[in-house]
Symmetry: C2
Subunit: 341 residues, 2 copies
DNA sequence: CTCGCCACCTGAAACGTTTCACGTCGCGAT
DNA sequence: ATCGCGACGTGAAACGTTTCAGGTGGCGAG
């Protein structure tokens, strides 16, 4: 059923090594032999066995990317960026989804290590040292942290400056005259979330505004955004914030739905700023102001760093690339009624 | 660096086979030996080499899913459904993205075949026989078609009745009094698209309504939806449709944006119905009516069929599971101004 | 005619597992 | 004391590649 090189060799009347040569260095075998072998391959429907190949080679040509949430358009865009680079270099990307769950992440990493992947792009669930990642690095498997842990000495990373992003969002809202601002997102242990919050807090502090009301969510999703907004709506009007900065667009979209359901108008009653500027943000019920990140470029750059380290581990120097986010202002944070400034 | 079983055996002072037994049938080795081996494994940081294992075993434990578009929430939900089943069975899912591009699909299938994956869930780009898929099936690799090609004899499939979905959408619009209806989506060669259109057409025909104006898009995405809507807007008002049925929600969201940008009101000037009922449909600028599909269940069922075939190929009978879609009515197809019926 | 070289091909080793037919040892039954 | 048996270990074969040190034969140069 599964023809092997040996059978191909037999059928073509050549030796095993010759078939391998046809496969790997066709130029060094004479045209007629080559043709005979190719015919045999065709006739038998031979397909290389990658396990055997890898076993011999010691490593594979696939690059893995472990993301926090496949359902989040932010990550799918990062994936596409990485794919474009890796496939351009003749490799293959496999996508693993940790779903923000540490144990699933562990299982994925274990399997990937057993598979001796060529390299790993990963946005880890938790930010502390990940023994599994360290071990892979020690083993010589290049690891690039995506949107995480800038500054670790033993691996590259790409990230977007989340503190700046948080700052941009808070400054924008402060300039629009908001004093009571809420921050919604979580878990706060996620570095992204913590940084965005910290950026917002320091921007507010600089303006002598009170720190934001923080509503923590268990994960970043539309439904947790709804729940958080419900909480905010339930506050007495005097303490209720006039603006919400959400840690990502999914949360913001959920919040938008809940606010609207409670009869609150956005931005008139409550302004809203999201994060990521996913494609759906601009098309929301109220077009969502958001902090834009260069998602595909994040993926591309991460993949480039990985391939670079992979092809020349000797001269490779770990780098930490940080991109700048941008504020995209839309209706959700701009009062429609004339009242400029 | 990469310790092998042999080194573990040496260090533990046992034979190679014993280490393997500790790994695979710990119960048949005496507790003290087991412990010694485990310590050696620990100390050396030994990690099984999956290539070698697979080579010996002849196949891997990973299941691949090849989707048309990772960025489409429809597919990410299908993936999650499949993941839940496969991981429950101790396997692993890798996600490959064809992006609707036949050549990328081919490359992915080639690589997956070389990797001797345990099985394959796939939504192929084109609907005709895929020689690569046939070959994999012949090779004994179970293939389940997702949302495609129901009725092929040599493989299982799961799908949602797209003809019915198209019918539901068209009936809904016809009942709301629309006569000139457009169908937007493409490529028309995609079975989903063709079926949804066919369903809509037959529903209209049964009511003696004219067939829909078909605007074909190169792919199903937000941006192509925008372009298509621009075209429709450019039509003279007398010929312009009063309702648009889009082949999926991405297209519908794009159309919604374009219509709004041109100052047309939805649903008053043009009604809109999408397909898939992705999470973002309900949160759109005008909440989108849509045809809901059981996305996660689609993935779960596909994975179950696959595992079933994989574990007992002898008794397996190929099945074709078809789910029913449902209409979710929201504001985009309901006139706000009182004028019920 | 002989030598050396080149082009081409061969065969075996090695990669790290798993599996399986066999040893070995100790102990209870006879 | 001997036999048989069970429990535990062993070692080699096999999986399908790739690689590499050599073989072989033909041909031009001397």
């Amino acid at each position: 059923m599964a023809a092997s090189i040996k059978e191909v060799a037999q059928r073509a009347g050549v030796s095993l090594g010759t078939v391998s040569n046809v496969l790997n260095r066709p130029d060094i075998v004479s045209p007629q032999t080559r043709r005979r072998v190719q015919e045999a391959i065709e006739e038998l429907g031979f397909v290389r066995n990658d396990s055997a190949r890898q076993l011999r080679a010691g490593r594979s040509r696939t690059v893995a990317i472990v993301v926090l949430d496949v359902s989040n358009p932010f990550f799918t865009d990062v994936v596409r960026g990485a794919e474009s680079v890796v496939e351009g270099a003749g490799g293959m990307v496999v996508v693993c989804n940790s779903g923000g769950d540490a144990s699933r992440e562990h299982r994925h990493l274990d399997v990937l290590e057993e598979q001796r992947v060529q390299g790993l792009l990963v946005t880890p669930v938790s930010d502390g040292r990940q023994p599994r990642l360290d071990r892979m690095v020690k083993r010589g498997i290049p690891v690039v942290l995506v949107d995480r842990g800038a500054g670790l000495a033993n691996q590259c990373s790409v990230a977007v400056d989340d503190v700046l992003g948080g700052r941009l969002a808070a400054e924008h809202l402060a300039e629009r005259g908001h004093r009571r601002i809420a921050f919604v997102g979580g878990p706060l242990s996620l570095r992204q979330v913590a940084d965005r919050r910290a950026g917002a807090e320091s921007a507010l502090a600089e303006r002598d505004l009170p720190p934001p009301l923080v509503v923590e969510t268990p994960v970043l999703s539309v439904s947790t955004g709804r729940v958080a907004a419900d909480e905010i709506v339930a506050l007495p009007a005097t303490r209720r914030p006039t603006a919400i900065f959400c840690a990502n667009d999914l949360v913001a979209l959920g919040a938008l739905q809940a606010l609207t359901a409670h009869g609150l108008r956005v931005p008139d009653d409550i302004a809203l700023v999201g994060y990521d500027d996913i494609e759906f943000a601009a098309g929301a019920a109220v077009p969502l102001s958001s902090i834009r990140q260069p998602r595909e470029q994040l993926g591309r750059t991460a993949a480039q760093l990985l391939l670079e380290e992979s092809t020349d581990p000797e001269h490779h120097e770990h780098r930490h690339v940080v991109f700048q986010p941008e504020l995209a202002v839309r209706q959700s944070s701009e009062r429609k009624r004339r009242r400029t400034r």
